[in-house]
């Protein structure tokens, strides 16, 4: 039997002609997650939620114009940050849901379907692999966080452009973008760490859902018991991220019934959320390091 000429030309140069290896892994990982039908379907209700925020901006502007007509223009400090806080807080659960639907198999499926061994015999480093997988999640999660923030925030800034509140709005939108990056990095690291622990994507989904829901439930119960105290929010990831968001968008909170202005938070509430975020991120990095050092062969 004749074998056709393979026409191969062996590459002799440095391995720098193509894209960086981590980028190849990242773009492929993103494509794989995007290839799931559920990833595309889920985007519709998520985009609808963000559309509501666009309408809310219009509504806010119309109401502001109505109440402020004949009065001096709104001052920058009149933008409370509630809108940005609500927008960012919703993103916590949207991102959690999106990762539950499609991101949890990021490493687990490489383990399950043995594709991880194909990386073994390739000239890539562990760092390339991990950074590539991390970036794939960041890009994927960016579809429901950074991208909508830029779009909705851009529209909001355009609407507020004629007013003196524009600077304040722009700062708060910038704060949400910064928060999105923190949120994306943290959630991506945690999902990756969980995904590296097992070859069963279902277990990762359960662990991730548990990680998000159980502390939130505990936090809610403790909050109900210790009425008026803010520290129970630190018990949950969502609460912690919410507190970090508050500081980034300069949202003072909602006044308690009978109060004109919200009570100033205790000092520790300014740094404790960030400390928890750093601790959680470090723990995830630690788990990833430990696990990948066990995965011999990702040389």
């Amino acid at each position: 039997m004749a074998i056709r000429d393979q026409g191969y030309t062996r590459y002799e140069g440095d391995l720098t002609a193509g894209s960086p290896t981590w980028w190849v892994v990242a773009s492929n990982g993103f494509s794989l997650q995007w290839a799931y039908v559920r990833s595309k379907l889920l985007l519709f209700p998520i985009l609808f939620v963000f559309l509501l925020f666009v309408f809310a901006t219009f509504g806010e502007r119309v109401l502001t114009n109505y109440f402020m007509s004949g009065q001096p223009a709104a001052q920058p400090d009149e933008i409370s940050g509630f809108y940005e806080f609500a927008f960012g807080y919703v993103q916590i659960w949207i991102l959690a849901l999106y990762f539950t639907a499609s991101g949890c198999g990021v490493i687990a499926e490489d383990l399950r379907f043995k594709t991880i061994q194909l990386y073994f015999s390739k000239p890539i480093t562990k760092t390339d692999y991990i950074v590539g997988k991390f970036m794939s999640l960041v890009m994927f999660g960016g579809l429901v966080t950074v991208l909508p923030t830029i779009l909705v925030g851009g529209i909001r800034m355009m609407i507020f452009a004629p007013s003196e509140s524009f600077g304040s709005v722009a700062l708060k939108v910038g704060g949400v973008v910064a928060y999105d990056i923190v949120l994306l990095c943290l959630f991506s690291l945690i999902v990756m760490a969980l995904s590296a622990l097992t070859s069963r994507t279902g277990y990762v989904v359960l662990a991730w859902a548990g990680f998000m829901l159980i502390p939130s439930l505990v936090s809610t119960i403790v909050d109900l018991v210790r009425k008026g105290e803010e520290w129970p929010e630190l018990l949950s990831v969502a609460g912690t991220m919410g507190l970090a968001l508050q500081s980034l968008v300069d949202f003072k909170g909602i006044p308690q019934p009978g109060q004109l202005a919200p009570a100033p938070p205790p000092d520790y509430m300014m740094w404790a959320p960030w400390l928890i975020i750093v601790a959680l991120g470090s723990a995830a990095v630690g788990v990833l390091y430990w696990r990948t050092s066990k995965l011999e062969g990702i040389a």
């Binding site: 039997m1 074998i3 056709r4 393979q6 026409g7 191969y8 030309t9 062996r10 590459y11 440095d14 391995l15 720098t16 002609a17 193509g18 894209s19 290896t21 190849v24 892994v25 492929n28 794989l32 290839a35 799931y36 379907f113 043995k114 594709t115 061994q117 194909l118 990386y119 073994f120 015999s121 390739k122 000239p123 890539i124 480093t125 011999e296 062969g297 040389a299």
Partner: protein
């Protein structure tokens, strides 16, 4: 052993906790096709994993092109692995899959696509290359795996059970491809349980059992080295009883038995036997229709070396 050995290991050992999977293995693999044989649990897979950089040796050294394998990007860029198990991103097409894996070697998208197309052509998957892998038959999946392994034209190719699930035509084609790659001066290490398939690809084998290489080299040479094991010769002659009588008088002959279609001679010195059998037949006017050695096939060697616990004369 040739001096141009591509793969070398020196006192290589690998433990999994208390279990020793490879035990002080020293070997050399040259260019061409080499069959890696051994029963289940022999250490074949562990050896393959060490040689493809998947496992770090517990002790000893493993080198390809004179360089250590573990964590060596240069070595990794010149080798390829076709794993035994399915290892795919099922949603991808074969073309996307192969292109992606070639890109990991540092090629540009355009180069990678060109190489992927060429490799898929070699394994006859061009027509279906744009279909998702989950729609492929077992044989097609096997060919896609081989395509990803050969696409970047590796100098050393490791194939773990490459013929699994292939139809006879596909099997023949893959065997021819392996032979052709070997003929081009590449090193091809083929692991298989199916001995006659390995025989059709090479007579150069590496027998491994209980974590040790018990024989390597040409299968016929190995057979000759097993001089403490009686060797069988089958003779189809027109006067079997007369010929048997003549043969039993020789000192090296242990026994002569009659089969339906001939006689089976068991000897301690097959070389001497091959010399005097034709002479005896000629002198006594006996017609020999067939003279074969059932022991000179891989299955027999495999059986002797693995089942009898043979430890001398070959191997590490």
């Amino acid at each position: 052993m040739g001096t141009d050995a591509i793969i070398k290991t020196q006192n290589l050992s690998k433990w999994y906790g208390q279990v020793i999977a490879l035990n002080d293995v020293t070997l050399e693999i040259n260019r061409g096709v080499t069959g890696l044989l051994g029963p289940n649990g022999a250490g074949k897979s562990t050896l393959m994993k060490v040689l493809t950089g998947q496992l770090r040796p517990s002790n000893g050294a493993a080198r390809i092109f004179g360089q250590p394998i573990w964590n060596n990007g240069y070595v990794m860029s010149r080798i390829a692995l076709c794993p035994e198990q399915d290892a795919f991103y099922e949603e991808m097409t074969a073309f996307q899959f192969v292109t992606y894996l070639v890109r990991l070697h540092g090629y540009t998208v355009v180069e990678s696509e060109k190489m992927a197309r060429a490799a898929l052509g070699v394994v006859d998957l061009l027509e279906r290359m744009n279909d998702p892998i989950h729609t492929y038959s077992k044989g097609m999946r096997q060919r896609a795996k081989i395509a990803q392994a050969i696409a970047h034209d590796p100098d050393v190719l490791f194939l773990d059970e490459p013929l699994t699930g292939t139809d006879p035509v596909g099997r023949r084609r893959i065997i021819d491809l392996i032979l052709e790659i070997g003929d081009r001066g590449k090193s091809v290490v083929v692991s298989s349980h199916i001995l006659h398939e390995v025989e059709s690809m090479t007579s150069n084998i590496l027998l491994i059992n209980k974590g040790r290489v018990i024989a390597d080299g040409d299968v016929f040479a190995i057979r000759n080295m097993i001089d403490d094991h009686p060797h069988q010769i089958f003779i189809d002659a027109d006067k079997p009883r007369d010929f048997a009588k003549l043969l039993v008088d020789n000192k090296d002959v242990i026994s002569v038995t009659f089969d339906d279609d001939g006689i089976r001679v068991t000897t301690r010195d097959p070389n001497a036997c091959y010399e005097y059998i034709p002479a005896l037949a000629l002198a006594n006017d006996i017609l020999i229709r067939r003279l074969t050695s059932p022991d000179n096939n891989l299955a027999a060697v495999f059986k002797y070396l693995t089942e009898s616990g043979y430890r001398e004369g070959a191997g590490t």
